[in-house]
């Protein structure tokens, strides 16, 4: 190879360039990039089951998606009042005693595969959550159903186990009367149940009966499948029921898009059309939806990230339009600095409270004073008078929620419709509004108790509770109490073990059901209510809750609750402090978002959202 060859190289390059210059550029093929209206919402935890009424599926992350994809008889509004959704179905109470309710599906209630929602779906909703059909009841038998890895074994033929047991629903023992057209069903409670209306949610939004039956019994035709399912329940056909239960327990648990389209069949405003594990779930407007709670956009995407600052920045970058991060002072500062963003500071479902222990031989236990109940009551009252509730809210919560207030009701969420009446009646705000050191000293002197030692249990590593503890300690010691730091990281497991005299922690309210708080205060023959960790026992309270349980009349329910709370305040049971702060922020392009404290929080009124 000579020099000529080498000089050819630049020529080659030049030639290539020249060739390039005269050739036309093929423009990229038009990709089918979307043109739908889309709203993106950030949530902290991915949905993991579309059957959220099982014993392991009860989480807000699941309820949210179900709320958007399955219609229901009722929902809760801004003031936590029950609202009927007549476009799905209607209900009426036929009689009080026995409590009989008749549910009728509307003609507009359709599954997204075109099959109408009817009595079979309601029956499945009731039968699966009532545990009436479970033949596996003994806890050892249930244990035997668990695989070594914790998953549930398919129940062997002839044994039925629906992994669910919902209070109230389990009071309906009889198979319902189903109307000729299959659109309505009449259920009868074995005893009257106060919260029957709240429990209607378990009749709607259940799994699609025709698909459960198809998967369990192999009947492909929807009408035949529903008939087979109803027959199986009616005849208590154990072989079929055990298959139905297996399908019901397992098939709707998925964390990514299932391969079988029938598993995403819904009845609500949206359908699940894409689910990328731990990344996002895409909901697309359901073309079959004929109801009133309609989708505000073509697409709603729920993206998953729990880092509060990542939430804020994704909102700022317009990747999502709605976030509800855990508020910290930094997150709120960052949010408030954003232009074109609306920030709502509000409450969450968890409320902080302080309980006193009645049965551990401590300063608040009558036993300590030779069963002198009056003396113990004075010591309790004295201690509660020193709790700086307003100061705790001002110093710890206001920076996170400027609208925060002291909560003055044991059982009602601030902002719920009966809150004002109840707090006026129970006396908590009049007796414990201000810190009263002198009053506390006087009560202690009156009782003749000197420097009682109070051990307080709280989450040791929880900064907020550390601050609460030191504020309480400082205040109580002025009145002559000796406050002992009993903080423990394992506080949850220590609750109720009697090693402390007062505890600071939070209860999460699950629903506004009237009977829900009973477990906090009652004492039964079998022992204390599940959440009565204080050893509290008041006959009148026990009676009142027994009455409430079977009281259908809502006015009477309200009166009972007021009476209960009055007694609790007079007994110096403890005090409620504040509602956990929450923050919701959304882009100015979105309007209509107005979160409530309980599930489905930000989503409750999705049909009134507007995207501009």
């Amino acid at each position: 190879m000579g020099n000529k060859f080498f000089t050819a190289v630049p020529l080659l390059m030049a030639g290539a360039l020249a060739f390039s210059a005269c050739a036309p550029v093929p423009s990229p093929q038009q990709s089918d990039l979307d043109t739908d209206t889309t709203v993106s919402v950030m949530w902290n935890q991915p949905m993991y089951t579309m059957n959220a009424v099982t014993n392991f599926g009860n989480a807000t992350a699941n309820h949210n998606i179900i709320y958007l994809t399955r219609d229901n008889f009722i929902y809760y509004d801004k003031d936590l009042n029950l609202v009927q959704n007549k476009s799905y179905g209607s209900y009426e109470k036929l009689s009080d005693d026995p409590l009989k309710i008749k549910l009728t599906m509307a003609d507009t209630a359709l599954w997204s595969d075109g099959v109408p929602v009817d009595a079979a779906d309601m029956v499945l909703g009731w039968a699966s959550t009532s545990s009436v059909y479970n033949t596996v009841k003994d806890s050892d038998e249930i244990k035997a159903l668990q695989n070594e890895d914790g998953s549930l074994k398919p129940v062997a033929d002839g044994k039925v186990y629906f992994n669910s047991n919902i209070n109230g629903i389990n009071l309906i023992k009889e198979f319902p009367e189903i109307s000729e057209d299959g659109k309505s069903a009449t259920f009868t409670f074995s005893v009257p149940f106060a919260d029957w209306e709240n429990d209607l949610t378990y009749f709607g939004a259940s799994l699609p009966a025709h698909i459960v039956a198809k998967r369990a019994l192999g009947t492909a035709d929807p009408t035949a499948a529903k008939a087979a399912l109803l027959k199986a329940f009616q005849d208590k056909d154990a072989a079929s029921l055990s298959k139905i239960a297996n399908v019901w327990n397992q098939d709707w648990n998925y964390t990514k898009m299932p391969e079988e389209a029938e598993l995403v069949v819904g009845s609500g405003a949206y359908n699940i059309t894409e689910y990328k594990e731990k990344q996002y779930i895409t909901l697309t407007k359901n073309p079959q939806y004929k109801g009133e709670l309609t989708a505000p956009t073509d697409i709603m995407t729920i993206r998953y990230n729990e880092d509060p600052m990542a939430n804020v920045q994704a909102l700022q970058n317009d990747e999502v339009q709605l976030i509800s991060p855990q508020p910290t002072a930094d997150v709120l500062t960052a949010l408030n600095a954003l232009k074109d963003v609306t920030v709502i500071s509000g409450d969450e479902a968890t409320y902080e409270h302080i309980d006193l222990t009645f049965d551990n031989g401590g300063p608040f236990d009558p036993k300590t004073y030779n069963k002198d109940a009056a003396k113990a009551l004075k010591v309790r009252q004295a201690f509660l008078k020193t709790i700086p509730r307003q100061e705790i809210v001002d110093k710890i919560i206001k920076p996170l929620n400027p609208n925060a207030e002291v909560r003055n009701s044991f059982n009602l969420v601030p902002g719920s419709s009966n809150y004002a009446d109840t707090t006026a009646a129970n006396g908590m705000s009049t007796q414990y509004d201000q810190v009263d050191i002198e009053g506390a000293k006087a009560l202690l002197a009156d009782a003749g108790v000197k420097a009682p030692k109070v051990r307080i249990l709280y989450g040791k590593s929880n900064v907020r509770r550390q601050q609460e503890f030191s504020l309480i300690k400082e205040s109580a010691e002025q009145a002559g109490f000796e406050v002992i730091d009993n903080g423990d990281d394992n506080w949850g497991a220590k609750l109720g073990d009697g090693t402390y005299d007062a505890s600071i922690f939070g209860w999460q309210t699950v629903s506004p059901a009237a009977t829900e708080p009973a477990a906090n205060f009652i004492m039964t023959e079998d022992g204390p209510g599940l959440n009565n960790l204080s050893g509290y026992n008041n006959k009148k309270i026990n009676e009142l809750y027994a009455e409430l349980n079977v009281t259908i009349d809502t006015a009477r329910q309200k009166a009972i609750n007021e009476e209960v709370e009055k007694i609790l305040v007079d007994d110096a049971f403890g005090l409620t402090l504040y509602q956990f702060p929450g923050a919701t922020a959304f882009s100015k392009t979105l309007s209509g978002v107005d979160p409530i404290t309980i599930s489905p929080t930000i989503f409750w009124n999705f049909w009134t959202w507007k995207l501009t």
Partner: protein, 508 residues
């Protein structure tokens, strides 16, 4: 050799067993699966607690739970993540691939940058350049990743997106970048004051001009490399590669590199038509890359000469670069469409996730979308890991440069380039055989903070989520997998070392 492997294997099994016992006991003690139920007021709380106790055998002693886990593990069953009832093996597959795709690129980039800067830093030992690099790398090393991530999102995503919506020249910023670039090149290339000044001026001017051109020419609206850019970059690559590996005096190497660049350029339009008419996927692209490298080798071979290998290597590198540039150019062509799409609505750089939901689009759009999502986490990871590679490589290089054989090489009159590239660099790269396998473990193990903040569902995120939710099975799977990979990687490192360094014997 067999005995060596057998002994190491037995040791590895023992280590894994002890690891499993310790971790299981620790997680089991620390985790409280009933935590969320304790403060619940659900009316059926009792049932829920009983059901969970039964499900997780919480009433049995720890050893029972451990035994059950071990029993299924030995049979190849990783168990289930009980909260979501998902099989751990399913979770692992997705998490590992996410972590690898996130961290592989970042690790390669950090290696490349770290090694290059480390070598230059060593060659310019005790100069201002060296001290500056040392300062910067230690600073980066000590930055907390969550803070870097927040800053990156603020400036490189939110700020850059705002800028792209309304591009304009920020003179202070542009001049600062030009000056820094000038200083960097002046320091890196070294020499006397006069030469430094020239380098500084040239580099600063080129940077300034490039930045202004990018903003003013509207390049940002429809970025592309184009045939012209491909020609310039190809010729530059050819020159640089030849300069580093063969020396410009090796004419055959130079011309073979240039010819490869020319072939690459000539293939630009045919390739554009190919991409237009055929639906492209990754296997095809990698096939084309392999073909390009083979062509590069072929061109080098044709130019022949006594040093055929050198020409072939240069050709191969240039061909790979040209192929990569052509790919990048094709991806850039969909940018205007991507930018205007409804899912992006004018904010292309993402702060979270691995992809834009519901984007649609073809292969190229998906590629671009992956890029806009991986950009920030990659920068965060590179910034932090780059520092250690720099320090590592600088040390290795300095040690080699002080060796007798380097003095010998210089004494026999070899050019400085040959001394550094052939005699010093090769030996200075050897310690990497010990570093890279360990980084492989980090890659499988994921990056907890980075994955959490950027919302990538990788191994690190899986680990931290499981820990938070008291799910023992995924944690154990995580520990077993990373533990096994770590042991294998260390074994491999020992092995490679023995292969590379004749002074080391595996049987020793």
């Amino acid at each position: 050799m067999i005995r060596f492997l057998a002994r190491r294997f037995a040791l590895a099994l023992g280590t894994l067993f002890v690891l499993s016992v310790v971790v299981h006991l620790m997680v089991d003690t620390a985790a409280d699966p009933l935590d969320d139920l304790r403060t619940s007021t659900a009316p059926n709380k009792e049932v829920l607690i009983a059901s969970r106790v039964a499900m997780l055998q919480l009433d049995a002693p720890w050893i029972t739970r451990y035994w059950n886990w071990l029993h299924s593990f030995i049979q190849g069953d990783f168990g289930i993540a009980w909260r979501s009832q998902q099989k751990v093996s399913d979770l692992m597959v997705g998490a590992v691939s996410t972590s690898v795709s996130l961290i592989l690129f970042a690790t390669l980039l950090a290696l490349l940058l770290g090694i290059t800067v480390g070598i230059v830093s060593a060659l310019r030992q005790y100069t201002t350049f060296d001290y500056s690099i040392t300062f910067v790398s230690f600073m980066l090393y000590s930055l907390p990743v969550f803070w870097v991530a927040v800053l990156l999102k603020q400036f490189l995503a939110i700020g850059l997106n705002d800028f792209l919506a309304d591009p304009g020249v920020n003179w202070l910023f542009v001049i600062a970048v030009a000056v820094v670039s000038g200083l960097f090149w002046a320091g890196a290339l070294g020499g006397r004051a006069r030469r430094k000044l020239v380098v500084f001026g040239t580099a600063a001017a080129v940077t300034l001009a490039t930045l202004l051109l990018i903003v003013w020419s509207g390049w940002l609206d429809s970025p592309q490399i184009g045939p012209l850019g491909l020609g310039v970059l190809g010729a530059g690559t050819a020159l640089a590669v030849t300069l580093a590996f063969a020396g410009l005096s090796n004419r055959r190497a130079l011309y073979s590199a240039l010819a490869t660049a020319a072939v690459g350029l000539a293939l630009y339009y045919p390739l554009m038509y190919l991409f237009y008419y055929y639906v492209v996927d990754w296997p095809l692209l990698f096939g084309l890359l392999a073909l390009a490298i083979a062509c590069g080798c072929g061109v080098g071979w044709l130019f022949g000469g006594t040093d055929r290998g050198v020409s072939m290597r240069g050709g191969a590198i240039v061909a790979a670069v040209m192929a990569a540039l052509t790919f990048v150019d094709r991806v850039m062509q969909v940018y205007p469409m991507y930018y205007r799409s409804n899912a992006i609505h004018g904010r292309p750089i993402a702060t979270i996730g691995a992809e834009t939901p519901n984007l649609g689009g073809d292969f190229w759009v998906q590629c671009l979308d992956r890029f806009t999502h991986i950009l920030l986490p990659t920068i965060a990871l590179v910034l932090i890991s780059f520092a250690s590679y720099t320090r590592y490589q600088r040390g290795a290089m300095l040690e080699v440069l002080s060796k007798d054989y380097i003095r010998t090489a210089r004494a026999k009159g070899l050019s400085e380039r040959v001394v550094i590239v052939r005699h010093a660099l090769r030996n200075a790269l050897m310690p990497l055989a010990a570093v890279i396998p360990v980084d492989l473990v980090a890659m499988i193990g994921g990056a907890v903070m980075t994955e959490t903040i950027f919302g990538w569902a990788g191994m690190g995120k899986l680990f931290i989520d499981s820990l938070r939710q008291s799910e023992v099975a995924p944690i154990m799977a995580y520990v077993m997998i990373t533990g096994a990979v770590a042991i294998i990687a260390n074994l491999a490192a020992d092995f490679f070392y023995a292969l590379l360094d004749p002074r080391i014997r595996v049987n020793a």
